[in-house]
């Protein structure tokens, strides 16, 4: 089935006429999404698997990510590393990434080489072999990766422990790279089992953006992936978060000269949201009102104005697979206690709860969102990312294009409503990073 996206009227002004995205699902369940972009003779090819750390159980945290590493370590027909050699010899750039909700493998390559990528990806969807020596080395590599990304960075450690505090039962608490102790005890069979359980055409989406003909892509996909049998994929159990019944606070001491404050309110996401979806988009606009640039409230009042922070910001991800957090974070200015920064954030929330935002601010956020969507089209990789992320957490990719229309519809009243609805201090978690005492004394 091919679905052709009809351009909304507003987009006629800004979209090139040939931007079209089409979709097809093979009999074995593999979904293929193609966005033609003929500006340059290149293509981005991505295979997305709906698997990541939020599917993992205690004891095997990090297994999705270790498996991602093993996907480069040989198949029945390829030696370890040969996948990468072939792509390199064809002038391609490649890598992979794992997150809480998906694992994706990508190549950027001259568009006449797409077939090579599809052939190789189809092979490793089913034929990866697990060699003990390769596994041993690769887990050691991942432990070094963990030391670089997390253990050596106090802010990363703070984020990790903050999520594990804010979420007690939801798998949002699991760090994608895995807890060190789990990485030290992970067995090769854990990774092999995980591969068998989740790597299947009916748990994957192929996203192609670039100088290709969509019909030809569908034919190539059929040729290489068509024969792969689907698996029985069981939807993960919900593992819903228990209701938070009061504020939670943690402290962490680390190698830093400035403290750092991180606050998060439990917030819903678009997926499975039972209320009016306007709430979700209003939260997104609200984040833009506070932190959408150097003219926004945080920069104007907290960085300049009162000068209580040297950097501060907010973030909200409306398109997560599971309910998450609306974040406030920042580094207090010299001699300013993190509690002062916390109060300033709370004052901003109070202001939004009690007063309507002014029209100029609202129009500024909308202008930024509209322009950003045009700018995004400059990068084929970013377009592929947006499509793949939406699809992998259960949304229709067409949200990439429809998003702007939802944002346009948000009013000042919507923002006041969601500010009152979601910023409840019983739903708050606060984490503070403090300079280690011995470091201070040096």
């Amino acid at each position: 089935m091919i679905k052709k996206f009809l351009l909304g009227l507003a987009w006629l002004l800004v979209l090139p006429v040939d931007a079209a995205t089409v979709e097809k699902t093979l009999d074995n369940g593999l979904k293929i999404i193609v966005r033609e972009d003929h500006r340059a003779p290149v293509v981005v090819s991505q295979v997305w698997y709906r698997i990541g750390s939020s599917y993992e159980n205690d004891g095997i945290t990090g297994v999705s990510h270790v498996l991602e590493h093993m996907m480069f370590k040989g198949t029945k027909s390829l030696k370890p590393g040969e996948f990468s050699e072939i792509i390199a010899a064809n002038g391609g750039r490649e890598n992979a990434f794992t997150s809480k909700h998906y694992t994706a493998y990508f190549q950027r390559i001259a568009s006449d080489r797409l077939e090579i990528c599809l052939k190789l990806e189809a092979d490793r969807m089913r034929n990866v072999i697990f060699l003990a020596e390769e596994f041993r080395k690769e887990v050691a590599v991942v432990r070094e990766e963990r030391r670089s990304r997390v253990d050596n960075r106090p802010k990363s450690r703070l984020f990790e422990q903050f999520y594990a505090t804010a979420f007690l039962t939801s798998p949002q608490r699991i760090p994608t790279i895995g807890w060190m102790d789990d990485l030290e005890n992970l067995q090769m069979q854990d990774a092999a089992d995980w591969y068998k359980l989740w790597y299947a055409p009916n748990n994957a989406t192929l996203v192609i953006v670039g100088d290709v003909d969509s019909e030809q892509v569908f034919e190539l996909a059929e040729k290489y992936f068509g024969a792969i049998k689907p698996s029985l994929i069981e939807r993960p159990k919900p593992r819903a978060e228990i209701e938070q019944q009061g504020e939670r606070r943690i402290s962490l001491y680390g190698q830093t000269s400035s403290p750092y404050l991180l606050m998060g309110y439990k917030t819903p996401v678009l997926r499975d949201f039972k209320g009016d979806v306007k709430d979700i988009y209003a939260l997104d606009v609200l984040s833009g009102i506070l932190d959408g640039g150097n003219s926004a409230r945080v920069a104007r009042k907290m960085l300049r104005g009162e000068e209580i922070a040297v950097e501060a910001g907010t973030s909200y991800d409306a398109f997560n697979r599971l309910p998450g957090l609306f974040l406030f974070a920042g580094t207090p200015n010299k001699d300013i206690d993190p509690s002062v920064l916390e109060k300033a954030f709370k004052d901003e929330i109070k202001d939004l709860q009690e007063n309507l935002v002014n029209n100029q601010e609202l129009e500024r956020v909308k202008a930024q969102v509209i322009a950003a969507k045009v700018f995004d089209q400059d990068s084929m990789y970013n377009m592929a990312m947006q499509i793949g992320m939406l699809d992998s957490v259960g949304h229709d990719w067409s949200l990439v294009d429809k998003y702007v229309d939802y944002i346009r519809g948000i009013t000042a009243e919507d923002i006041m409503r969601v500010a009152n609805k979601f910023f409840d201090n019983n739903q708050l978690t606060v984490a503070t990073l403090w300079p280690e005492k011995e470091v201070q004394e040096k």
Binding site: A88, A89, G91, K137, S257
Partner: protein, 436 residues
């Protein structure tokens, strides 16, 4: 679109062995009346216009006032004429435009991405021109940005990657303009006055010291008008003097910096390469094989894939206005430091002595030339290249000849260039971590 794609197709034909001399894209260049060198590429696929000013106004121009170049650059958006920081930001942001600015050792820049709708462009162009050329350096903003840089500096001493990088530059470029990065030093930052800032700005943010890269949905006539508007407030001034050469024949040594961590950082290297160096392509292709090509590089294959000692290991040449560094770097658990660092040293020595194999060279050339279209597949990347070409005064056919220059490199060229230019006995090696 059609034009650019056709040209790219020809560029690919080149890679496939059909030699011909065609342009990757058409670059129009001209000089404005106040001396700004403009490079323009016309492309109408998307309704976007990108502009970037580059100035020889990085920290290599700090003199003894370390940090002044960055402080000047940070203050550009804090005020111009009667406009406050908020007015400036609002002008860009309410048009959906994205303005950014920064400075490194060689280069300082301001850039702007806007929708090409003439009304949107008109809204932002004047402010962008003023911000770049006529900053007011308000006193309260100077104190604020100074404070922010001081806090940033203090935090650098707590981040192992920054500690390693700073120690490397400190020893490799001792008493040279590249020694202290644009983050500056505590004592010098504290002493910088408003007059110093104005002086620095009026010396370096001037037409004859500027390049303007311009890419997007404009005709040539529109581009010329737009460039005039963007550059209208810049005084002609003078081009910055060249950066002096660093000392190139240093005695190598190993410096250990204690740091509380489970994983140590290692960088080793020396100053080697300028942007217009005759050995550029031999060293570039050689390094691609040694440690510059991710999974297929020798360092990655041996130290990560065969031994599992690291997550990340790489090497690169950073060509700069004067001799930029060659660096090899890795991070590994404290107990593996000796093993990993010896391996790094051995592999470098072996590469210098024997050069790459025929197979490695062919593989690297295929990879580099085959990925050429990826270098220029977005407006953003074209702006990056135009800025680079303008700033470092590279020939306009730099990209057109890129692939043939890569293909012309032989095994012997690489071996010869590495033997003459890369000297393990002159390298500084920094090891930051808990010594075993």
């Amino acid at each position: 679109m059609k034009n650019r794609v056709q040209k790219l197709m020809l560029a690919i034909a080149l890679w496939l062995g059909v030699m011909s001399s065609v342009a990757a894209f058409n670059v129009e260049t001209w000089k404005t009346s106040n001396g700004v060198n403009v490079l323009f590429v016309e492309t109408h696929d998307l309704p976007i216009v990108d502009v970037r000013f580059t100035f020889k106004a990085g920290s290599s121009r700090d003199g003894k006032q370390y940090g002044i170049s960055r402080l000047v650059n940070a203050l550009l958006v804090e005020g111009t004429g009667d406009s406050t920081a908020e007015d400036i930001a609002l002008t860009f942001e309410s048009a959906g435009a994205q303005m950014s600015h920064n400075s490194l050792r060689d280069m300082a820049w301001t850039s702007l991405r806007s929708l090409s709708d003439p009304k949107m462009l008109a809204k932002t162009a004047d402010m962008f021109a003023r911000v770049t050329a006529l900053p007011s350096f308000p006193k309260d903003a100077i104190e604020r940005d100074r404070q922010s840089m001081l806090i940033g500096l203090a935090n650098r001493t707590q981040q192992i990657s920054k500690v390693t990088e700073d120690a490397f530059f400190n020893h490799v470029y001792s008493d040279h303009a590249y020694q202290v990065g644009s983050h500056g030093t505590e004592t010098t930052l504290k002493d910088i006055t408003q007059d110093d800032l104005k002086q620095f700005h009026s010396t370096y943010y001037v037409g004859n010291n500027a390049n303007l890269a311009l890419v997007g949905d404009l005709t040539l006539t529109q581009a010329r008008q737009y460039a005039d508007q963007l550059t209208q407030f810049l005084k002609p001034g003078r081009g910055a003097p060249v950066v002096a050469k660093p000392k190139l024949d240093m005695q190598g040594k190993t410096i250990r910096v204690p740091f509380k961590t489970t994983q140590s950082h290692i960088i080793q290297g020396m100053p080697v390469l300028t942007r217009k160096d005759p050995d550029y392509f031999a060293l570039y292709v050689g390094n691609h094989i040694l440690g510059g090509s991710g999974f297929s590089s020798r360092l990655m294959q041996e130290i990560r894939e065969n031994r599992g000692l690291v997550y990340s290991v790489y090497s690169f040449f950073a060509p700069m206005e004067s001799h930029g560094p060659f660096e090899m770097a890795l991070q590994t658990s404290n107990k593996q430091v000796e093993e990993a660092s010896q391996l790094l040293q051995q592999m470098l020595e072996e590469f210098i002595q024997k050069g790459p194999t025929d197979e490695e060279l062919e593989h690297a050339q295929k990879n580099i030339t085959g990925s050429f279209p990826l270098k220029i597949d977005s407006n953003k990347k074209i702006v990056d290249y135009l800025s680079l070409m303008g700033f470092y005064d590279l020939p306009l056919d730099y990209l057109d000849k890129f692939n043939s220059n890569v293909l012309a490199v032989s095994n012997e060229d690489i071996k010869d260039a590495f033997q003459r230019r890369v000297k393990p006995e002159q390298m500084i090696r920094i090891i930051v971590g808990e010594s075993s």
